[in-house]
């Protein structure tokens, strides 16, 4: 294979930190290369150098054999490299066509130019199998469709090498599968692709070759066919990482019971006729394709939304109308779906987030005044007990990595010995080491008798942690199945809503 892209001996230092250390990487024509590494391994820095956002201290970048001038953002684009960012850079109030034209052509151009642009866009759309409606507004599109527009935008600028930064971070699994099929088709049209990821299963499923970065160094390159997820995990983390295994044990009495709960949003049902029970010492897994009511279920169990009918009881107490504070008082620990939006206030110190849920408890305040010393020593305890790295009680929370922020949130709700724990997508976006730590904490809470409801889009995770599993489809829940009976096929059928027919037969 002829290399279309060569990164040669790239080194980049920020002060004392070496973000990229002598990294060499090539991409062949028509190849899909996965760039694998944990958060902070230097993947993004490397791509920023390729794109001229940073100037490398040492090393060269060659595209189609020609060396790129360093530190010139337009050079890479002109040489035919396109980037699809993890966080989309689309203007929501403009149409698909306008967004595609934005930056390369004037939006005030005459309508003939617009018609030409539209024609070109449709040709690209046909050729690469990426259907779009040019006149649709971005704000009306789903996340998957927006990503398609991002890709089209790069192709419209004649990109022949496409780099995708964590392309599946925002996608549900079927969408992700569709994306990878599309990418495979695109290579047949002569494109070469790099996708950045830290998810082993998608690297295994979608790439031809894998390059593993760790601590800024290129530690290994493998043909995907010659490696295994286990080997890649070890290469990526630098040691053997084993996710903890759930031990069988007796489960106790029901702690949290939902009976025929209905939740509405703007008059539309988000949860309908939902009944389940989580028992002492049990993890109940809720699986489903994203957007099927997980958000409403998370909101209900956090106390943010109130059921319009049905009952939600926690240890015999009706907690439906209590709100978040009432849920916490009743003994619920809650891990929200989005740790940045709901889990923690990034601008506050770690200690402030550690006590945010219980500021008014006598442990942390007296006569309306915050007992800072007590709060900080509690935060220090959490940091030690939950192994929150890079943190002191006074560190600003947004400076923590995703995994450590998640450990802080988990620590905050587990340290009080909750009766019930809501874990909503607890490992989303985390790297292998952090995932193992979060799993271990959840299993430890289970061993101590907490009733845990796990909402997850990662099937492996749900099967590994849960005692029983229910699927959520269009706001309704399937009957529970024991985790040892749940294989991928059965869960797939459940998530597709097929359980409705064999409910009674089972």
């Amino acid at each position: 294979m002829t290399p279309v892209l060569e990164l040669q001996d790239i080194t980049k230092r920020f002060g004392t930190l070496t973000a990229n250390d002598d990294v060499t990487l090539t991409l062949g024509q028509g190849e899909i290369l996965a760039l694998l590494g944990e958060n902070g391994a230097g993947k993004t820095t490397l791509m920023n150098i390729l794109f001229g956002h940073y100037a490398a201290d040492e090393g060269t970048v060659r595209v189609f054999g020609k060396e790129l001038p360093s530190g010139k953002p337009r050079a890479a684009i002109e040489a035919g490299v396109g980037m699809v960012h993890q966080h989309f850079t689309l203007a929501g109030n403009l149409t698909v066509l306008e967004n595609v034209m934005l930056g390369s052509e004037s939006l005030l151009s005459p309508s003939s130019a617009r018609a030409a642009a539209r024609k070109k866009l449709m040709q690209i759309s046909d050729r690469f199998g990426l259907p779009v409606t040019p006149e649709a507004r971005i704000a009306e599109l789903s996340v998957g469709e927006r990503q398609r527009v991002e890709i089209l935008k790069a192709l419209y600028r004649d990109a022949r090498i496409l780099i995708l930064d964590e392309p599946t971070a925002v996608l549900a699994r079927p969408e992700a599968q569709r994306l990878f099929e599309t990418l495979r088709d695109m290579t047949r049209e002569g494109l070469s692709l790099i996708f950045i990821s830290h998810k082993l299963h998608e690297v295994m499923a979608a790439s031809d070759r894998v390059a593993v970065l760790r601590g800024g160094r290129m530690v290994a390159e493998r043909k995907t066919a010659d490696t295994s997820p286990e080997e890649l995990a070890e290469l990526m983390v630098g040691r053997k990482v084993e996710r903890p295994v759930r031990q069988g044990h007796e489960i106790g009495a029901p702690v949290l019971i939902a009976e025929k709960v209905r939740v509405e949003e703007k008059g539309e049902a988000r949860l309908d006729d939902v009944s389940f029970a989580v028992h002492e010492g049990e993890i109940l897994g809720i699986v489903g394709v994203s957007g099927n009511g997980q958000a409403a279920l998370g909101g209900l169990l956090s106390g943010l939304t109130t059921p319009v009918s049905g009952a939600l009881t926690l240890a015999g107490q009706d907690v439906g109308p209590l709100g978040p504070r009432g849920m916490i008082r009743a003994g619920a620990g809650r891990v929200p779906e989005d740790r940045h939006a709901e889990g923690a206030v990034g601008e506050l110190a770690v200690w402030e987030n550690a006590v945010l849920e219980r500021l008014r408890s006598p442990d942390f305040s007296r006569r309306g005044f915050v007992r800072q010393a007590a709060c900080k020593s509690y935060a220090a305890e959490l940091i030690a007990r939950f192994d929150i790295r890079g943190a002191t009680p006074d560190t600003r929370t947004r400076l923590l990595s995703g995994g450590n922020m998640q450990k802080l949130i988990l620590g905050r709700c587990l340290s009080i010995g909750p009766r019930f724990v809501l874990a909503n997508q607890p490992t989303r976006g985390l790297d292998e080491g952090a995932i193992a730590a979060v799993h271990a904490e959840l299993l430890a809470a289970r061993a101590e008798g907490a009733a845990i409801l796990l909402i997850s889009e990662e099937l492996e995770e749900a099967v590994a942690l849960s005692d029983r599993i229910q699927a959520i489809v269009k706001g309704r829940l399937s009957q529970p199945v024991p985790a040892h009976d749940a294989d991928a096929r059965k869960l797939g059928l459940m998530m597709a809503g097929v359980w409705k027919e064999d409910d009674h037969a089972a």
Binding site: L304, P324, A341, G343, G346, E347, E352, L356, S365
Partner: protein, 347 residues
């Protein structure tokens, strides 16, 4: 070139940013002064002499700073919680009106009556902001609009009252309300000047606000709600209660400013008693980066500009409106400076 968020803001930057903003604003205003045919150096020297050149001018400047500290605190408290209270002017006048009205005929000894009148001024300011806060919580009505428009309503109402029921018959036709009883006039802080103990009230208020924001549960909840409302709500903090608490505190501070101005300086209410204290409070709060201690310093600076500009105008003939220009430029340069304290420029 692009902006990158700073991992943490070094302390020196917090101090340097407002100073740099003020310096740039003075340079820009200097160009206007030069265009008016006067050397900026001369003009600024006259300004400094006018505000700080003598015992009398210093006390005059601090007298002017007193209401600015309080309206600055009112804006800072509200803005921290993302409650955009633009109604400081109206709350100031309501506090002033209620104080003069009740203070004219209140039958209490001075030392008891003064705190009572201040409390009434605070309560009336708080109530005036409670309305817009309620409308925002209940119907999502934009408080920028409601608080701003209430200013005009309140000032017109004050005009109505001093032309009618509260008219001072002894004011020889000047549109002024009846004065507060002489027992309730605030004692002088410096003999034979206009500086009154209201200045100390303002300093104490700044300390109290700092204590509330930095050390109480209410302050911590307010901060969390202001920085990330959904995370605060998730953690069980009641956003409506927090917002209403902030509104009451903010309105009370602006109301206190009006009350203190009546008790300490004007005795009666006139529609011209405030040269925009409420609006200038917004500038003060921004210059202070919403910090209570900074509010005191920023209020003294703005008062220096206002008092100094009058003197400069008399000495050099440059219109004293230059004070408004300087203060407005300071707001703009400070907003830019705040950007550079939060972000750094990377290339």
């Amino acid at each position: 070139m692009r902006l990158e968020r700073r991992a943490h803001v070094p302390l020196y930057l917090v101090v340097v940013a407002p100073l740099a903003a003020v310096a740039v604003a003075l340079i820009l205003a200097g160009a206007l002064i030069a265009a008016a045919g006067v050397s900026p150096a001369t003009a600024y020297a006259e300004m400094l002499r006018g505000a700080l050149g003598s015992r009398l001018s210093v006390t005059e400047m601090l007298t002017r700073a007193t209401p600015l500290i309080l309206t600055g605190l009112a804006a800072a408290v509200a803005f921290r919680a993302r409650l955009w209270n633009i109604g400081g002017e109206g709350q100031f006048f309501v506090g002033a009106l209620v104080t003069a009205w009740v203070g004219h005929s209140l039958a209490l000894p001075g030392p008891v009556g003064i705190p009572v009148l201040m409390a009434l001024g605070m309560a009336s300011g708080a109530l005036l902001l409670a309305g817009p806060a309620y409308l925002r919580l209940r119907f999502s009505v934009d408080e920028v609009v409601t608080t701003l428009l209430l200013n005009f309503i309140v000032i017109l109402f004050v005009g109505l009252m001093i032309e009618g029921p509260l008219r001072d018959p002894l004011a020889f036709g000047w549109p002024s309300s009846v004065p507060v009883d002489g027992d309730f006039r605030l004692p002088d802080l410096v003999a034979r000047t206009r500086l009154h103990i209201g200045f100390l009230v303002a300093i104490v208020a700044a300390g109290a606000v700092w204590l509330i924001l930095a050390r109480t549960v209410f302050g911590a909840e307010t901060r969390a709600a202001g920085l990330n409302a959904s995370a605060a709500a998730f953690a069980g903090i009641s956003l409506p209660r927090t917002l209403m608490g902030v509104a009451l505190l903010s309105g009370a501070l602006a109301g206190l400013a009006g009350s203190v101005e009546v008790l300490g300086v004007t005795a009666g209410v006139t529609t011209t008693m405030s040269p925009g204290f409420g609006y200038a409070g917004i500038v003060v709060a921004m210059l202070a980066a919403l910090h209570p201690a900074g509010v005191v310093a920023a209020a003294i600076f703005v008062a220096t500009v206002f008092v100094g500009a009058d003197a400069m105008s008399r000495a050099t003939g440059v219109p004293s409106f230059i004070a408004d220009v300087i203060v407005a430029l300071c707001l703009l340069t400070m907003l830019v400076a705040l950007l550079f304290t939060t972000y750094r420029v990377r290339r």
